[in-house]
Amino acid sequence: MESTNDLTTYTSPNSTDVAHWYRAARATDFPENGGACVKYGDKQIAVFNFSRRAEWYACQNLCPHKMQMVLARGIIGTTAGEAKVACPFHKKTFSLHTGQCLNAEEESITVYPVKVVDGFVYIGFTA
């Protein structure tokens, strides 16, 4: 499998609006095909190292279903090719591209652009 450290940029839908790239942690700190949570001020961001697809994703750590700070601990995977995360509590799944809830009618989650440069993971914020 391709080493994720060599990946330079992963562009998410609105990465053009990014005002600030936050250097979160080393790419190797994130488990393969899994996530970990990043603290950014008061915000908690779930970051996923989808190493099988050589892709990185980030979204809010908060699950809108029962307002639990847990999405980073969810299992990631795909449905018809679309990357998603399943909340560990009640298995509501959310698209990592659009943030939309895929198997229920929950509110959408916010997704953030991620890039990996020189072995470091950066998350893009608009402010």
Binding site: P31, Q44, G74, G77, T78, P88, E105
Partner: protein
């Protein structure tokens, strides 16, 4: 744009909002609700006592109305309707103009005109506020009564029991639930309720509520009295028709806003729905007819006049845990010529009655007490006029446990209503499956909303799904998910034969795509069952509980459960648990599995806590795994004067033998020292009961949502034979069961049933006995305490932190006090 105003924001009002929005975005909707909260699920109100919060009960959060472009005013009572100018006015003085007005004002509790109803301590049972008051007042009381022994009254009485009060039910009629049950059914129900601690007083006319400022008791017409400190009145409902009446709409003398088949009141611009409406002299005190009314009105407001409200069936089920009661169709056989057939088993507290038509062709209605598992299908048979079998009595005295899965739904016509909350028919479901490609329950929930109301229809929906898919030839194979076109058993063989050790290797060779939350944990469990290697090494394919080797709780903390084999523990170890729990401020509780659970550990604390526990000689209890939980024991011959064998030693031995063994689902065992069965072995996946000559081995029992007694496999075997048979039994289960299938369900689906199992395990008919035993030995040899491994392996340990980039702990966690220990704060902070 047309402006529709809804008065009342209860269940049917919410449903109308939802339906209107589904049909058209082109209507301006404004809702005025008297209660301070947006609409909530009144049907499940009693779950408030069982821990549901007000937010859990909401039909939709406030934000939903906003998203849907619906203006919601809560805490606004509509007090006036000016029909000439088409305006309404609220008690805060807001006025608003409507084109159409819908009255969904529901009903209030009917309070009989008795002396003393205004005393402190007298309540009704309708809103969350009522419940808050009952809970608060109840803390100062020991005894309480419910006035009214109907459906709601009994629910209220159970709530009082849950509040630790001595509960009484006072009913004027000579029996309970007089509108749903006959004498025989009500007698059995009364007996059941007595068993859960409710005292029943029937045939009691209440004369007066006694007390000076606060209630002190009830006085009855027959001169007797009942001293109680609190009273909940549940004597019926009274439609909220006051605004309708004041503006001159026709209302019924007994209450209720008069409506026609289109739910129109006497003003063609005003509709009434739900419990506030009276249609054909009927007030429907149930949610399903209210939803149907909402549907009719939603269609009309969007220009579809094709649907009328045709009346509704009043079948109901009581929602008390452990007290099964259903009443459907014509329960009393009032249809001319109807023939009743009844079955009564006083010993087990079961009563079933069906009324069949004079020509013996159709089911008219009936009553089920003690076992209402057939309620759904009987109800469907009535509603859809399904032809009866030649011997209708077999319906209620049929052989239990032998029902053919799905056979019931096959006989239903497409018009059969399956989900009554959302009015979804069998045809609707089939259409979604056949034409719109729905393949799972989740698909159906999303597209039809079936199962999303009370959830009671889920088993039937599942049957329809299964049946339809089979007819399409879709599920020739029960594949795991979109990533693996194999069953669990196929994958078991592939992994074993090819020696596959990782999920990725399996996916690369035999799967497609990139996996998901269904196949990852299923394969994780298979790998664990086959190789019994430490699962923490493939952490990200595990379900949360297995990923962090602890059960996740509300709020995101975890629990710690060390193994206490057989429930036996030394005082020294007890003190160690006490010390460690105190140090990390953990909530402690004795579990139902005879051991101690410590709750509320933060993820970074887990390795620290386990490190200390391991030092004290503890091991993982695998409370999180699909693996052996506990072997429960009774004290047995070592101390008990009746014991015939040393059940504790055997339990400890067995628990240590199978600890850490991964299986398709969790499994549990128990050993009792004699036939008195204090360890409840017959409710376990395998249970052992001592006899004078050895042991009786029972298999495939479980508690849980669908309890089932274990079945006797062999009698009077010696210890070695017993262990050998369990080895074979478990290994056979591990190899052949579907994912997340307990042994009981596995057996129920097994062709040939218990006899087949006995042939394989005891008689070794397949000649695989020795192989099963050998495989079990290999798995046991691979056992390693996974917590020890994590504590000692820095790379694994490093995963136990909340943030990757900061040592801070999660500051969103918050706890409140619970009887001197901590507990997570309310979990819905929306």
């Amino acid at each position: 744009m047309k402006h529709v105003i809804l008065v009342g924001n209860g269940m049917t009002s919410f449903k109308l909002c939802e339906k209107l929005r589904k049909l058209s975005g082109d209507i301006r909707i404004t809702v005025y609700g008297e209660e301070i909260r947006p609409a909530y699920d009144r049907v499940h109100l009693s779950e408030y006592f069982a821990g549901k919060t007000a937010d859990d009960l909401l039909m939709a959060p406030r934000g939903w109305y906003h998203e849907q472009g619906i203006t919601l005013h809560t805490g606004e009572l509509v007090t006036e309707i000016d029909r000439t100018n088409k305006t309404i006015r609220t008690h805060h003085g807001i006025t608003d103009h409507y084109d159409y007005l819908v009255l969904a004002t529901g009903s209030g509790a009917f309070v009989p005109p008795l002396d003393g109803v205004a005393l402190d301590g007298v309540f009704v049972y309708r809103t969350i506020e009522d419940l808050n008051q009952i809970i608060e007042y109840g803390q100062r009381c020991r005894t309480a009564a419910v006035l009214g022994g109907g459906l709601l009254g009994l629910e209220a009485a159970k709530a009082l029991v849950d509040l630790n009060l001595e509960a009484h039910v006072v009913e004027f009629a000579p029996r309970l639930m007089p509108r749903q049950l006959d004498e025989a059914g009500a007698t059995i129900l009364a007996h059941k309720l007595t068993q859960i601690g409710i005292t029943i007083h029937t045939g009691k006319a209440t004369k007066r509520i006694a007390g000076e400022d606060r209630i002190t008791g009830l006085e009855f017409a027959d001169g007797t009295a009942l001293p109680v400190e609190m009273l909940v009145i549940s004597a019926g409902i009274r439609p909220r028709d006051e605004v309708a009446k004041a503006c001159g709409l026709a209302v019924h003398a007994r209450g209720g806003i008069q409506v026609d088949d289109y739910l129109r009141t006497t003003d063609e611009h005003i509709f009434a729905i739900g419990e506030a409406a009276i249609h054909n002299n009927m007030i429907y005190g149930l949610v399903a007819p209210g939803y149907d009314m909402a549907d009719v009105v939603a269609r009309q407001l969007t220009g579809d006049l094709s649907k009328k409200f045709m009346g509704f069936d009043m079948s109901t089920k009581l929602k008390l845990l452990g007290v099964d009661v259903g009443s459907f169709g014509d329960p009393f056989g009032e249809t001319p010529g109807s023939i009743p057939i009844a079955f009564q088993d006083r010993c087990n507290g079961v009563y079933k009655r069906i009324n069949i038509s004079a020509d013996r062709k159709h089911l008219l209605g009936g009553i089920l007490v003690g076992d209402a598992s057939q309620y759904n299908i009987f109800h469907q048979m009535v509603v859809n006029k399904i032809p009866l079998p030649a011997q209708p009595e077999t319906l209620i005295i049929g052989v239990p446990g032998k029902e053919d899965e799905g056979a019931g739904v096959k006989s239903l016509p497409d018009t059969a209503q399956i989900c009554s909350c959302e009015n979804i028919t069998k045809g609707d479901l089939i259409c979604q499956i056949k034409d719109k490609g729905a393949r799972t329950i989740d698909d159906l929930k999303k597209t039809t909303k079936a199962c999303t109301g009370c959830g009671g229809c889920t088993p039937l929906v599942n049957d329809v799904l299964k049946m339809t898919l089979e007819s399409l030839g879709v599920v020739v194979k029960k594949t795991l998910c979109e990533h693996f076109a194999f069953t669990r058993q196929d994958l078991y063989d592939i992994i074993k034969v090819e020696g596959i050790r990782t999920y990725d290797a399996l996916l690369d060779k035999h799967g497609i795509g990139d996996g998901c939350e269904i196949c990852k944990p299923a394969v994780a469990s298979l790998l664990a069952s086959i190789w019994n290697e430490v699962i923490a090494e493939q952490a990200t394919i595990q379900d949360t509980n297995d990923r962090f080797l602890a059960n996740i709780q509300r709020g995101g903390t975890y629990s710690v459960v060390p193994r206490i084999a057989g429930g036996e523990i030394t005082p020294k170890k007890l003190m160690a648990i006490g010390r460690i729990a105190e140090k990390y401020n953990l909530y402690t509780k004795i579990t139902g599995g005879q051991r101690i659970d410590m709750f509320g550990a933060q993820v970074h604390e887990l390795p620290l806590i386990w490190e200390e526990l391991i030092q004290e000689g503890f091991e993982s209890g695998h409370a999180y795994g699909k693996s052996l939980r506990t072997i429960k024991s009774c004290v047995g011959s070592t101390w008990c004067r009746f014991g015939v064998q040393d059940s504790v030693s055997f339990a400890v031995f067995i628990e240590n033998r199978y600890k850490g063994l991964r299986a398709p689902h969790k499994f549990k065992g128990a050993v009792s020292g004699c036939i008195r069965e204090c360890a409840e072995a017959q409710s376990k996946d395998f249970g052992i009961i001592a006899t004078e000559k050895g042991w009786n081995l029972y298999v495939c029992g479980n508690g849980g949502a669908r309890p089932q007694h274990a079945k006797l496999l062999v009698t009077d075997v010696d210890t070695d034979t017993c262990v050998r048979l369990i080895d074979r039994f478990l290994m056979y289960y591990i190899k052949t069961a579907d994912p997340l299938t307990r042994t009981a369900t596995w057996l129920n689906k097994m062709e040939g049933g218990l006899e087949h199992l006995r042939q394989v395990v005891v008689e070794d008919s397949l000649g695989i006995g020795a192989m099963l035993e050998k495989e079990m030995k290999e798995l046991m040899a691979n056992y390693e305490c996974e917590w020890k491994k994590v504590v000692e392996t820095p790379a694994l340990r490093a995963q136990y932190r909340h943030f990757v980039n900061d040592d801070a702990s999660d500051d969103t966690l918050s706890f409140v006090d619970l009887r001197g220990q901590k507990m997570p704060a309310d979990w819905n902070r929306k």
